[in-house]
């Protein structure tokens, strides 16, 4: 018996390296202005899925919602060991908050069909909300195990995992199918060289037609042939629009987001009555004496 595991991943802006035009006037993120990376805890989720694949045999499908360029993280997932990839991409998804995101992903999971496990990273570094996993579990009416460190046992009907709790851990058991969110408790494997050579050619249909257009190559028949060719070699990344996964566009993107950004303020540092201390023994001794004198210390 082989399992089918969906891993939902996210391409995120590298929040460590942010430039000034990172935000649009409507308060949403201008992703184009930022370097994009594979969300770190999603790599941990992928790693758990690949460990299950190694141990029990499984087909691992990596899925993401994002703009056409988000296909990059799907290729990265395939370099590491994912068997298939699905990109959920549509303008109707733009500006989604966590509720609208989880709705869209739930439609995608239903479209992909039968699965035994869904794994997600606990949270993405661009928002740190940790909400999409639990919301997706609710939308799909799945049992939810959050903050998973390790999967101890997988069998036909159930999964046993160790998860982090406040001040300790729990071992819990849930029937399949189930959803887990995964924390930074494993060492994600790097890309495998052989897989990289193979899957760097993987393309979404959109990317393929863009490549053709860029080359001023307009033969529709040739495009269709190449698409079939990629598909037969397992190199075609599935791409779904909102209508293809049966999503109600009143529930996606900005339409489907109950939270609205009222205003954005740039961070203004409040001026404090600040005193600079010389970084030498005399300066530091004086500071310590001052703090003892006013009873802050001692």
């Amino acid at each position: 018996m082989s399992y089918k595991i969906l891993v939902f991943v996210k391409q995120v802006p590298d929040t460590q390296n942010i430039s000034g035009d990172a935000m649009k006037p409507d308060g949403t993120v201008n992703r184009a202005a930022l370097p994009a990376i594979f969300n770190p805890e999603d790599l941990n989720a992928l790693e758990l899925a690949l460990q299950l694949k190694d141990k029990y045999g499984a087909k691992v499908v990596a899925g993401t919602m994002g703009p056409p360029n988000a296909a990059e993280v799907l290729r990265e997932a395939m370099y590491r060991g994912a068997d298939e990839a699905v990109l959920l991409s549509d303008r109707a998804f733009a500006g989604a908050d966590t509720l609208a995101t989880s709705y869209a992903l739930s439609c995608c999971a239903n479209k992909i069909g039968k699965y035994d496990l869904i794994l997600c990273g606990r949270q993405a570094i661009d928002g740190d909300t940790a909400q999409v996993g639990p919301q997706l579990a609710e939308k799909l009416a799945l049992p939810q195990i959050s903050y998973v460190e390790e999967i101890l046992e997988l069998s036909k009907n159930k999964v046993k995992a160790r998860r982090e709790i406040e001040g300790g851990y729990e071992v819990v058991e849930a029937p399949l199918p189930a959803l887990m969110t995964v924390i930074d408790a494993n060492e994600p494997r790097p890309a495998a060289a052989r897989r990289l050579m193979k899957y760097k050619k993987a393309r979404t249909p959109f990317e393929l037609s863009r490549d053709h257009a860029n080359a001023n190559y307009t033969d529709a028949e040739a495009l269709a042939v190449e698409q079939e060719n990629l598909k037969s070699r397992g190199l075609l990344i599935t791409e779904y629009s909102a209508s293809e996964v049966g999503a109600d566009i009143q529930r996606t993107g900005l339409n489907g987001s109950p939270t609205k950004v009222k205003k954005i303020q740039n961070v203004v540092l409040k001026a404090t009555d600040s005193k600079m201390i010389e970084a030498n023994e005399a300066g530091i001794t004086e500071l310590i004496h001052e703090l003892i004198a006013d009873h802050t210390l001692g």
Binding site: E173, K263, H289, L297
Partner: protein
């Protein structure tokens, strides 16, 4: 809007009958919000054998406590808790529902929000009542909850409003809201809730559970010595420990130091850690992102030590020292020991 407004609810988190501090902090905040809205503060308390929790909740400000006692609610698992809370929301239609941004609150809140199709804002650092004039969609909302949080790597502060159906849901980290002194004269009303749970709600079984109380108490500390990425290595973190020990303080860290694996998350100060207000906060090698400052800028006195004179931490510091902590920290220890 003339229809009757719902109340302000707080999910009361408990572990073995001990109420989490963050829940009491939120009850105190709820009093302020409910005061502005002219509504009540109500607590939602789930678990088993909980009667001892009820009076303290009145004392901190709950006017009603909805209490569900059931063996299936102990230990905590997400689905039955979500079911009970959803049923209560449908019945009583609260205006606001707050969760502590703890492990439990962060997995339970979204599950409830998803079913209720409600908005949920994580890790708010301020909450206020104000009107929202949504010019884009030409809607005016009176007396909404302003959910304020740093966003996007701390480069901005966003004010978020939930424009859909109530409740307006938020999570808040421990220590962000201040806990007021309880008033033992306050009384409230207990509403016992009979959970309606099916087998499908309790499929996740806890087989083993190991936990200990947190060994660090940053919130109660008078003196805190915190290290950041500028400390440089796990080994070098000993300097921070030595200074904390000499001054009789607790050790803390920025997220960068925690992420680097130099120290445990229990020590993290900031938006996704603990918020502290000690007498003295010494920030060593911490650049001072908005998320970190949100967790410490109300300290009575702040000393910042950093090699970068432009580090944002200096803007909140009362005393700034530009230089290498490797020489400055030992000098501080020496100067203190000589005098004390």
């Amino acid at each position: 809007m003339t229809d009757k407004k719902g109340n302000v609810w707080v999910f009361i988190e408990q572990e073995e009958g001990k109420i989490a501090d963050v829940s009491l902090e939120l009850v105190c905040k709820a009093r302020e919000l409910a005061g502005k809205l002219g509504t009540k503060v109500e607590g939602v308390l789930l678990g088993d054998k909980l009667t001892s929790c009820v009076d303290p909740l009145y004392h901190y400000g709950c006017e009603t406590v909805y209490m569900a006692e059931d063996p299936r609610l102990e230990p905590f698992t997400v689905q039955p808790y979500a079911k009970v809370i959803i049923d209560l929301i449908k019945q009583h239609k609260p205006n606001i529902l707050m969760f502590g941004a703890t492990h439990k609150g962060r997995e339970l809140g979204p599950r409830v929000a998803s079913e209720k199709l409600a908005g949920l804002t994580a890790d708010c650092t301020e909450l206020e009542i104000d009107d929202f004039d949504d010019k884009v969609n030409k809607n005016f909302y009176k007396d909404k909850l302003m959910q304020i949080r740093p966003a996007f790597g701390g480069n901005i502060i966003a004010t978020i409003v939930n424009t859909w159906d109530d409740p307006q849901m938020v999570t808040v980290r421990e220590g962000v809201m201040k806990m007021d002194a309880p008033d033992t004269g306050r009384k409230g009303k207990l509403v016992k809730v009979v959970p309606e749970l099916s087998d499908a709600d309790t499929v996740v079984k806890v087989i083993e559970r190991v936990r200990e109380e947190k060994s660090v108490n940053l919130k109660g500390a008078q003196i805190i010595v915190a290290g950041g990425y500028g400390v440089g290595s796990k080994d070098n973190f000993k300097l921070i420990e030595q200074l904390a020990e000499a001054l009789g303080g607790e050790i803390a860290a920025s997220r960068a130091a925690v992420d680097a694996g130099w120290i445990d998350h229990d020590h993290q100060v900031g938006q996704t850690g603990v918020t502290v207000r000690p007498k003295l906060y010494i920030a060593c090698g911490i650049s001072g992102s908005i998320q970190h400052r949100a967790g410490m800028d109300e300290s009575m006195k702040i000393i910042a030590i950093n090699t970068d004179p432009d580090a944002p931490i200096f803007s909140v510091a009362h005393y700034g020292i530009v230089g290498d902590l490797n020489s400055i920290v030992p000098q501080m220890i020496k100067a203190f020991k000589a005098k004390a």
